[in-house]
């Protein structure tokens, strides 16, 4: 075509005009730290595995999840999910049910028999893990994944630690626990049962171990001085819960009093109910708000008929009754006695006042320090004795299964580095993807899905699991409630909203890039990114 001069132009020729020169600020893609990930004591990349769960690729989700935590089916039942507390979605409607999805994924893995990928090659290094609780299993798993030869020595008859001996089976069915432990063993971890370590240095030397991870937990019940009238049944919670795993169930009587305000107290009270107690009463010295137990647990216990005697301490335990003193909270929130007393009928009293660590295996370890009944470790989870690391309930910190798993992972990273003569350093943490970074308009309105709950009669009389799992559709729905805070989930918004076509879509899984030849720096992509994965920075002019 002989086009008329200047009036008629060839298509798309404005590409010659690089409007990027107009820009005073430039957008850049970032990965911000989602609050859930930030809050997870196990260091799970929750947003990351939810991303795969959203598309129904549960195996991929499981593989990413288990990079941090080898026990998702367990944790999906017993974790107190700080992730959900931190979840930005809570500010929109309700938090994402991360815990329930984790359980679904964990159960899927068990159902389909997914196995961990064995290491490409062995490092030839040997590591001893003392204790087969969550922390020990976590460390063993992480160390085995990178090719170390790991032996776990467990004093008890079964692996699982507090997951088995502290958490009732109505919360964590043992088949689930067994299957997840078996999967770790299948990775090549040797678990020796009834193999108590009495002297850690000797064990290390005799077994030619290059490093040791101590995770013996805290199993010795704390006692409180109670003037006890002779024959009253006085038990401790750990003992009660442990005995639930054996043949002979504890005899608690018709009226059971549990003393304490932690989760263990609730576990025992609920267990007592299931064992046939007519009354199961928790005596706690402060108020519901001050109770360390998780509210969801308390709620379930109350539903099941457990009673709580708030602001009360046990002053005396008699044969079939106890005397409690009413307390009051002072202005610092501490419980103070009032001098008012009350008598409660009780066939047995269970003390749930916390646990201490059995530190006898550490006697004479040079450099190892103990403080307040727990082992001191540095930031790299190493005790004062080189090559001996420790974690879980035996080191300072919150005593939860999730924290234990996190300790195991962290210790394993450090042990691995230490074995290579290096020091592991935590990668730079990204800026938190706080709620204000999001453009939540883009997310569908979707209330949180609820897990099915066992009906009350069965809850009060059997040890069947109380809280059910999601069906696949519900699990996927719930996963898709994730806002993907701070991390691109390839919604194409930036690609779409750019008036200058200055965003290059790199294809599925590869996200996007800016074409700074044309980007005018308007910032629309930043405003309209739902998840806060773009920020602007001043252009150097």
């Amino acid at each position: 075509m002989k086009k008329p001069f200047a009036i008629t132009l060839d298509p798309g020729s404005s590409l010659a005009n690089h409007t990027g020169s107009w820009r005073t600020v430039r957008p850049v893609y970032v990965d911000r730290l989602p609050p859930c990930n930030d809050a997870c004591p196990s260091g799970e990349n929750i947003q990351g595995w939810l991303f795969h769960a959203e598309s129904g690729d549960y195996e991929k989700a499981w593989r990413l999840l288990t990079e941090a935590n080898p026990l998702p089916a367990c944790m999906g039942r017993v974790c107190y999910h700080p992730c959900e507390t931190a979840c930005n979605r809570a500010q929109l409607d309700e938090c994402v049910g991360v815990n329930a999805i984790e359980r679904f994924i964990g159960d899927e893995a068990l159902k389909h028999g997914w196995k961990f990928t064995p290491p490409a090659k062995s490092t030839g290094m040997r590591v001893l893990v003392v204790g087969a609780g969550p922390s020990g299993l976590s460390a063993a798993y992480q160390l085995a994944r990178v090719g170390h030869t790991v032996t776990v020595r467990e004093a008890g008859p079964l692996a699982g630690g507090m997951m088995r001996f502290g958490i009732p089976k109505y919360r964590l069915p043992r088949a689930v626990l067994d299957a997840e432990i078996a999967r770790i063993a299948a990775l090549g971890v040797s678990i020796e049962l009834n193999a108590k370590v009495d002297d850690v240095l000797a064990a290390k030397r005799d077994g030619h171990y290059d490093a040791v991870f101590l995770a013996v937990g805290a199993h010795i019940a704390k006692r409180a001085y109670l003037p006890a009238g002779s024959a009253g049944r006085m038990l401790d919670a750990v003992e009660v819960l442990r005995s639930m795993e054996g043949e002979d169930r504890p005899l608690l009587g018709r009226r059971v009093v549990v003393y304490g305000g932690g989760n263990t107290a609730l576990d025992v009270a609920r267990t007592a109910k299931r064992l046939g107690a007519e009354e199961s009463v928790i005596v706690y010295r402060r108020t519901r708000e001050k109770m360390p137990a998780h509210d969801a647990e308390l709620e379930e216990a109350l539903q099941e008929g457990v009673l709580v005697k708030w602001l009360s301490t046990i002053r005396e335990a008699g044969e079939s009754s106890i005397t409690v003193e009413k307390m009051t909270l002072d202005d610092k929130g501490m419980a103070q006695p009032t001098g008012e007393f009350e008598t409660l009928a009780a066939d047995s009293v269970v003390l749930a006042l916390g646990q201490d660590v059995d530190l006898s295996l550490l006697d004479g370890v040079p450099g190892l320090e103990i403080d307040g009944g727990v082992v001191k470790v540095d930031a790299n989870m190493m005790t004062g004795h080189p090559g001996i690391f420790a974690g879980g309930d035996m080191v300072p910190g919150e005593r939860t299964v999730t924290v234990g798993i996190g300790h195991g992972k962290l210790a394993a990273r450090n042990i691995d580095a230490w074995l290579r003569g290096e020091t592991w350093t935590h990668p730079q943490r990204h800026e938190i993807a706080s709620f204000d970074k999001l453009n939540t308009w883009y997310y569908s309105d979707a209330p949180k899905a609820q897990r099915p709950v066992l009906d009350m009669v069965r809850r009060q009389s059997t040890f069947e699991e109380v809280v059910g799992g999601f069906d696949p559709a519900t699990a996927q729905f719930e996963a898709r409630r994730c806002l993907s805070c701070g991390n691109c989930f390839e919604c194409d918004n930036c690609y779409g909203v750019c008036p200058d076509n200055a965003v290059i879509k790199l294809g599925a899984g590869n996200r996007y890039a800016f074409n700074y030849d044309y980007c005018k720096g308007c910032g629309l992509c930043v405003s309209e990114c739902p998840c806060g994965a773009i920020r602007t920075q001043p252009e150097e002019i």
């Binding site: 002989k2 086009k3 008329p4 001069f5 200047a6 009036i7 008629t8 060839d10 298509p11």
Partner: protein, 417 residues
């Protein structure tokens, strides 16, 4: 084939023979009979495939033609007078975009005061718009020029306006020789657009052009019109070859070879002028006629060549550049190599005022006797205008001139201020 038909019908049939594809029209006298005839043919399916679009204004008419032409369709419209002014913006635009639209202008005066009769003010108001402007002397030429117009437009990628006098030609029944479809087809090949809106080969038509290239765009438009000065005679020759009769071209000379006075004019008035000249020739006056067929581009050389031996040139025109004088006369002066004061302008026939042989003879004789004013208004009621002017001098703000005249004529009882 010889036919005795109304001018509008003859033009409509010629347009039809040119196989137009999109015809758009908005009614305005005296153009209506042309588009009515075409509309009937389209509705009857005689022109298929052809679209006839009843638009809501002349501005839309030209705009529809622009869209159609840019999409590769042979587009035609017709208008007159106010309509031409109403579409003026689009008229310029069609030329600027280089779209070969053909439009008939059934020449008519422009108001106010509103007037439906013939003069050339409408077409000449658009003399700088970039269109080719051809003026027909009679209905045969009107018919022929339309056929040539499409050929020229498409050859040059420029729009062409064919001007024919309203009523005098459009509504006059004359004998015409109507060509056959085969003749027209051999003269006018299918439209091959220079630029076209085609998804297979996209272009952007109608860019914004700034100071850096606007002069060049305008120069090129001018240069293209200069090229037309060569093409127009060539395609007129070709027309003669195909159709067997002379028609079109830049100018027609009539008895000019030995003329002392040459009368220059456009359109149908040339017939009356030639009759007058014949009469005067019989009496021995050395007078001739130069008919301007092509007003744009202005055929300077042809005009100069035709007029160079004349002692006096009388430009008789049906248009007035108010405040200046004759438009055609001004163009002639610019081309005439002799002294400009030998060019006399006679404004005649405005708003359909009859131009009689008697009146013409009077001014021609004045020219021959060197007594013609440089600017003359033929048959002007001098007494009447003098009265109005006198009143104006006495009383400013005396109301619209038209009202004043009507009052003087006693036609209406106008309110006096």
């Amino acid at each position: 084939m010889l036919k005795q038909v109304e001018g509008s019908a003859a033009v409509a049939e010629a347009i039809a023979l040119c196989r137009p594809q999109v015809i758009c029209a908005y009614p305005i006298s005296p153009q209506t009979h042309i588009v009515e005839a075409l509309g009937r043919r389209v509705d009857a399916g005689e022109l298929a495939p052809c679209e006839f679009v009843n638009v809501e204004s002349e501005f839309a008419a030209m705009s529809v033609a622009i869209g159609a032409s840019a999409t590769g369709a042979r587009a035609y419209t017709a208008t007159a007078s106010q309509g031409l002014l109403f579409m003026a913006e689009a008229v310029y635009n069609a030329a600027g975009l280089g779209l070969p639209i053909v439009m008939t202008v059934a020449n008519r005066a422009i108001g106010a005061p509103i007037n439906i009769w013939n003069d050339h003010t409408d077409a000449l108001s658009q003399r700088d718009c970039g269109w080719l402007q051809l003026f027909a002397e009679d209905n045969q030429e009107a018919l022929d020029l339309h056929i040539q117009a499409f050929r020229l437009a498409e050859e040059l990628s420029l729009p062409v306006m064919v001007c024919m006098d309203g009523f005098i030609l459009t509504h006059a029944y004359e004998r015409v020789d109507m060509p056959t479809q085969a003749q027209v087809d051999s003269y006018l090949p299918p439209y091959e657009p220079r630029q076209v809106l085609d998804p297979a080969d996209p272009v952007s038509i109608g860019a914004m052009v700034g100071p850096e290239a606007f002069m060049e765009v305008r120069y090129l438009a001018h240069a293209k019109q200069q090229q037309a000065l060569e093409l127009i005679p060539a395609w007129a020759d070709e027309f003669r070859r195909v159709f067997g009769r002379p028609s079109g071209g830049l100018v027609h000379e009539y008895r000019t070879s030995d003329a002392d006075v040459i009368v220059v004019a456009l359109g149908s008035v040339l017939g009356t002028i030639k009759d007058t000249v014949d009469m005067m020739r019989d009496e021995g006056f050395r007078i001739g006629v130069l008919g301007i067929t092509c007003f744009r581009p202005w055929p300077s050389v042809a005009v100069r060549n035709a007029l160079q031996r004349a002692k006096r040139v009388v430009v008789l025109e049906k248009s007035l550049a108010v405040g200046m004088g004759g438009i055609v006369g001004n163009n002639v002066s610019a081309s005439f190599s002799g002294s400009p004061d030998r060019v006399h302008t006679v404004i005649a026939g405005l708003g359909g005022r009859s131009i009689t042989r008697g009146s013409l003879r009077r001014v021609f004789e004045q020219a021959l006797t060197d007594s013609l004013e440089p600017l003359t208004f033929l048959d002007l009621d001098r007494a009447l205008v003098d009265r109005v002017l006198e009143r104006e001098r006495v009383q400013r703000r005396s109301g619209p001139i038209a009202e004043g005249i009507l009052k003087d004529l006693g036609v209406v009882a106008a309110k006096t201020g």
